[in-house]
């Protein structure tokens, strides 16, 4: 396959296809992943090509999906499970937190749990409740899990390859409102490490850090700021556990200002961790306190209010103004 422009959903599909093709131990499991191809069609055509033994329509039971994936992993398989929507991962949260995350340590490192849990997450698609949440901090807080979120097709393709190859459980958050955004995928290129952040736009006045769906918003904010003569650097975190603080630190020590943007509530979110760590590491470089832009301490609102709830261009630029005013 040569370099192609693909929507994120299709890049993930191709990535799953490649994994199924190259490793007979890889399985795809979840509700509606077979004939329907998943409710977002991310697994479209996989069951047709790899059969019901490899691409498994599971009963409607999330605890069952993750719990059996753990057993399959113990038996040498590499299950990639799909949770249909962010808000439906919680029936499986017990299995993920009390079992999946801890088993490797409890077994003195003797067993490996190569389970990938794919979760379409985040808002902006006008859905009903439980279909728009960003629960990444709840997973990043749990030792034993790795948490990542791509923001473009190339990362979606390659990070999923790397997640499947990882011997650790990986929670793979897919920015559902970007599923249809196209960008280039080169299936031959050798990607950087899974947990390395990337500087997606260089600048000198301030650093914006984001991941998943908010990277695009930050790039747009940086473009808008440029028109006002401001040069913003944008860092795509890519990995939320672990976090590549070095890349962020390097950027911040250059620009001296940091604004972190995510959809999840600000309170005790990943932005809080970034603010604390960067303040520790780069205290004397900072010209302004680290600011955060994100969701509120309120349930994700009904669709007609989500534009107010989600960080948009204006809220990001407002934080940029506040930071630059120090």
């Amino acid at each position: 396959m040569a370099v192609k422009k693909l929507p994120i959903a299709k890049a993930i599909n191709e990535s799953l296809r490649r994994a199924l093709d190259t490793d007979p131990k890889v399985l795809v499991m979840g509700e509606d992943v077979g004939k329907l191809g998943g409710v977002f069609r991310v697994t479209d055509g996989l069951q047709k090509d790899f059969g019901e033994e490899r691409v498994i329509d599971t009963p409607l039971a999330e605890s069952g999906i993750v719990g059996t994936a753990i057993g399959l992993a113990l038996r040498g398989y590499r299950p990639v499970v799909e949770i249909q929507f962010d808000g439906f991962v919680f029936p499986a949260y017990d299995q993920i937190v009390t079992q999946l995350a801890k088993m490797h340590a409890r077994a003195l490192g003797k067993i490996k749990l190569p389970v990938v849990i794919r979760i379409p997450y985040g808002g902006g698609i006008g859905a009903v409740e439980h279909h728009s949440e960003s629960p990444e901090a709840l997973f990043a807080h749990v030792a034993g899990l790795k948490v990542v979120s791509p923001s473009n097709s190339s990362d979606a393709y390659w990070m999923l390859q790397q997640a499947i190859q990882s011997d650790d459980p990986v929670i793979f958050f897919e920015p559902k409102r970007r599923y249809w955004d196209k960008s280039e995928v080169d299936p031959e290129s050798i990607p950087g490490p899974l947990h390395k952040a990337s500087v997606v736009r260089t600048g000198t006045d301030l650093t914006l850090v984001a991941y998943g769906p908010m990277v695009k918003v930050c790039l747009e904010a940086a473009a808008a700021a440029e028109e006002e003569g401001r040069s913003l650097e944008v860092v795509d975190l890519r990995s939320i556990s672990p976090i590549d603080f070095d890349t962020v630190q390097t950027s911040v020590e250059k620009t001296r200002r940091l604004v972190v943007v995510h959809e999840a509530p600000v309170f005790l979110g990943s932005g809080a961790e970034l603010a604390a760590r960067i303040t520790e590491r780069s205290f004397y470089h900072l010209e302004a306190p680290v600011l955060r832009v994100g969701g509120y301490h309120a349930p994700y609102p009904p669709a007609r209010l989500e534009e107010e709830y989600l960080p948009g261009l204006d809220r990001v630029l407002d934080a940029v103004d506040r930071s630059l005013a120090y």
Binding site: H130, A298, L305
Partner: protein, 386 residues
């Protein structure tokens, strides 16, 4: 997917109602798809007794409920197509299961629905336009559950069955004779919460009726992807009865649910009712059933349509005349019109509503964020004025 697997086939078999070893009928049916009353066998008699003296007026009432519910549902589906609703989960085909079971409840009973129980809501006297708020995206619930003892819709599959069980445990503790009915789908039967609700209700002898509408599909997955035994048979393993009822037969649904609620009131504990029915439309307006099921399946089920069946019976018995049907048609149109108007006029919520009701006693962080948000919004208004 075998469509014909369980619903009875020939007229003779239908009347005889096949029996399982325990003496229970495989399928309780009181009105055939052709609209003929089934002569109750011994196995059916216990249920049939609950609708024995049903009056023509009551029958017309059930018919009216089903027609208006279908009309409401069709209106909501087209409102979604017109962009007025973000999503709609249609109940098309499930009217008998919902109206029959809903009409079996008493005002003091408590109902725990999923997201598709528009017909049950109707029987509880909930203004149907209230159901549309969450699908339009103006709220995440939209009604006071205590007004009609009709709980909020639950989107997380299976959760409400435990709430229903707990509520029923409370009724038992209070020594009241109310009962609870919990709705869920065949897919939901796979959830741990549902299994746990069976366990709790059995152990505590809770007065709850589990009403499973087996509409054959959980989005794209047929019932066979959830279970290898007929769902109603699961109850036995928990120690309470399970009954399968023809979910397209409003009389049978009414009878069986009355029977089950009666047991609950008498202190005899939970019952599982499996209403064997069919989702005639898509799972929701976002779904594309052509990817996983054939048109001929729907056609086979259309022959069992709950509304046509009752109409045939009403006409054959001369229980309803042309005037009744014409009046109902007009009433349907009026309902559709009202729903359309109310939805179109539904205002978007105030922006600050994001912070409403997050806590009952208030919370300093929410207050702070509300104030920041208000100031931020006001900054735009100032800009516009200048």
């Amino acid at each position: 997917m075998t469509v014909e697997s369980t619903v009875t086939r020939g007229p003779r078999k239908r009347a005889a109602a096949k029996k399982t070893p325990g003496g229970q009928p495989d399928l309780v049916q009181l009105l055939t798809p052709e609209g003929k009353r089934v002569r109750p066998t011994k196995a059916l008699a216990e249920y049939a007794a609950f609708v024995e003296d049903i009056t023509p007026e009551e029958l017309r009432g059930l018919y009216r409920d089903m027609v208006l519910t279908r009309r409401f549902d069709a209106e909501a589906t087209s409102l979604q197509r017109q962009g007025e609703l973000g999503l709609w989960a249609s109940l098309l085909g499930q009217e008998a299961a919902q109206i029959g079971s809903g009409r079996a409840t008493r005002p003091d009973d408590y109902v725990f629905p999923t997201y598709r129980e528009h017909g049950v809501a109707w029987t509880r006297g909930v203004d149907p336009t209230l159901l549309l708020g969450m699908f339009r995206g103006v709220n995440n619930g939209g009604w006071d559950p205590t007004t009609n003892n009709f709980h909020l819709y639950t989107i997380v599959i299976g959760s409400q069955t435990l709430h229903a069980t707990g509520y029923a445990m409370g009724i038992a503790k209070d020594g009241a004779d109310s009962a609870v009915i919990a709705y869920f789908g065949d897919g939901a039967s796979s959830q741990g919460d549902v299994a746990e609700s069976f366990t709790f209700s059995a152990v505590y002898n809770a007065p709850v009726v589990f009403f499973c509408q087996n509409n054959q599909w959980a989005i794209s997955e047929p019932t066979e992807k959830q279970t290898r035994v007929p769902l109603y048979q699961r109850a036995r393993g928990y120690g309470f009865p399970g009954v399968r009822v023809d979910g397209n037969d409003v009389l049978a649904c009414l009878a069986v649910t009355r029977w089950a609620l009666e047991r609950a009131r008498r202190g005899e504990g939970p019952t599982l009712v499996e209403a064997f029915t069919y989702r005639m439309g898509a799972h929701t307006t976002s779904d594309d059933p052509t990817r996983y099921r054939h048109d001929d399946e729907r056609a086979a089920w259309e022959a069992k349509d709950p509304i046509i069946r009752l109409r045939a019976y009403l006409e054959a018995q001369s229980h309803a005349d042309e005037a009744f049907f014409a009046e109902l048609e007009a009433e349907s149109e009026a309902l559709g019109k009202r729903v359309r108007e109310v939805v179109r006029a539904m205002p978007d919520p105030e922006h600050l509503a994001i912070f409403d009701n997050v806590y009952a006693d208030g919370h300093a962080l929410v207050d702070e964020e509300r104030a920041q948000f208000a100031a931020y919004q006001a900054s735009f208004a100032d800009g516009e004025d200048k």
